[in-house]
Symmetry: C2
DNA sequence: CGGCATCCGGGAAGATACTG
DNA sequence: CAGTATCTTCCCGGATGCCG
């Protein structure tokens, strides 16, 4: 009875495979389930705890998150780890290979922003914002610029370093920056991607800007969006 | 009653969204459903008919294919078109933006080949094989090479052109090539990715090679696979 | 035959409540 | 805080059948 159940589950799992030697098909078996790629996204800037993942992934339920973390761990993409004392807290972290999934997230994201259906006025996590900077940075526009920009987004703090035509984004202490933004991620996105003037966001208290003001005005121009696709396409 | 049904379906669809401004999340709403990306893959080298898609996607059922084509069409990724007479046949074709999804497929595929779980000994479609050439071509190894290689894969015929350190793959008449392979796609894959000697494949009739033999021996070395990830990763 | 609607069974996702 | 347990709803996959 129990055995039969297991057999039937295995058969089902087998039927659910793509049975395709193509790397893309295998990739979909690894990260193609609902939520999987977004879990990876949230871990891309460092390990997180279960409940932090849960709150940064609006709409995921606890049991689905548990299942995804299990299958990602089984696939060698995520490891469950316990932080050393005194923290002694359990976190989930990408493996080295897991971190290499970032181009997938970037390529998919860059392509999808061309969709007419893309709505930038939705909730946005801090990690998404930082990854969007990595993805959308235009080296030509940032030419000659050397600066460190800090972000205080709720409890998390990030540092974006620009220099030599490259951009680095990571967790870090915002106090060391030439300029810091303080506010919710969607407000920063409104300035960078929505074209909302910084002054307007400051006026209603949505965003606080400390430090080099001219740098702030330039920073928001460094991440051009690709043109929308023609709705009446070929 | 009917109205209520529609409302409840809309609510369900709404609940199923990711509610996330991140481009990646929107990308997953567009192509994240099961089979969707593989349907796009099969269309990447030109339009196909419903039943050709069905047979090139082993395991997909007719109703799921119908659903995917509908939602891809709604998303502006695919168009349904009727070929001009005398064919007068209905085909599905990627929009210009749809063709731009190729880097997604490539990035995911390249990343996934590093998985320990990737099994190259599975069925493989002709399009998958051609796209894998585009994805895995090593320009350094192909330096100085100028050649046209033809493939007769069942009813379909393809041409791969190599020159100036670039590789192009498209549907085309294999007769114009310096060299042609005739056989099933997995047999070609065995030679290129599995390290099976061409002579062995010829011996049991799995593969037929016509034309420049030395070119064939070189061709199979042009697509190195990335190293597998360490199973006991960090 | 090609494309699509319909019905059914099983399983995955979602919501809520509960436990260590 | 970090998950389980449970229940419902919905999607996937298979089969059948309709229609051009």
């Amino acid at each position: 009875m129990e055995l039969e159940k297991i057999t039937s589950r295995d058969e089902a799992a087998y039927r659910r495979r793509y049975d395709d030697a193509c790397g893309t098909a295998h990739g979909l078996e690894l990260v193609g389930e609902r939520w999987a790629l977004l879990v990876i996204r949230e871990l891309m800037l460092g390990p997180k705890r279960f409940n932090d993942l849960r709150s940064d992934l609006p709409g995921i339920s606890a049991n689905v998150l548990t299942q995804r973390l299990e299958s990602l761990e089984a696939g060698g993409i995520v490891v469950k780890r316990r932080l050393p004392p005194p923290a002694s807290v359990q976190v989930y972290e990408l493996t080295e290979w897991g971190y290499q999934a970032e181009p997938i997230i970037q390529t998919l994201g860059r392509w999808a922003t061309r969709s007419p259906g893309h709505d930038p006025n939705l909730p946005l996590s801090a990690v998404s914002l930082m990854l969007s900077f990595r993805t959308m940075f235009d080296a030509a526009r940032g030419k000659g610029l050397k600066a460190t920009v800090g972000f205080r987004l709720g409890a998390e703090s990030y540092l974006v370093r620009i220099g030599d035509g490259e951009l680095h984004a990571a967790r870090g202490d915002a106090d060391q920056a030439d300029l810091t933004f303080t506010g919710a991620p969607p407000m920063v996105a409104a300035a960078v991607y929505g074209g909302v003037p910084l002054s307007a966001l400051e006026a209603d208290g949505a965003l606080k800007i400390d430090g080099d003001r001219a740098l702030a005005e330039r920073f928001v121009t460094l991440f051009p969006l690709p043109p929308k696709t023609n709705a009446a396409a070929k």
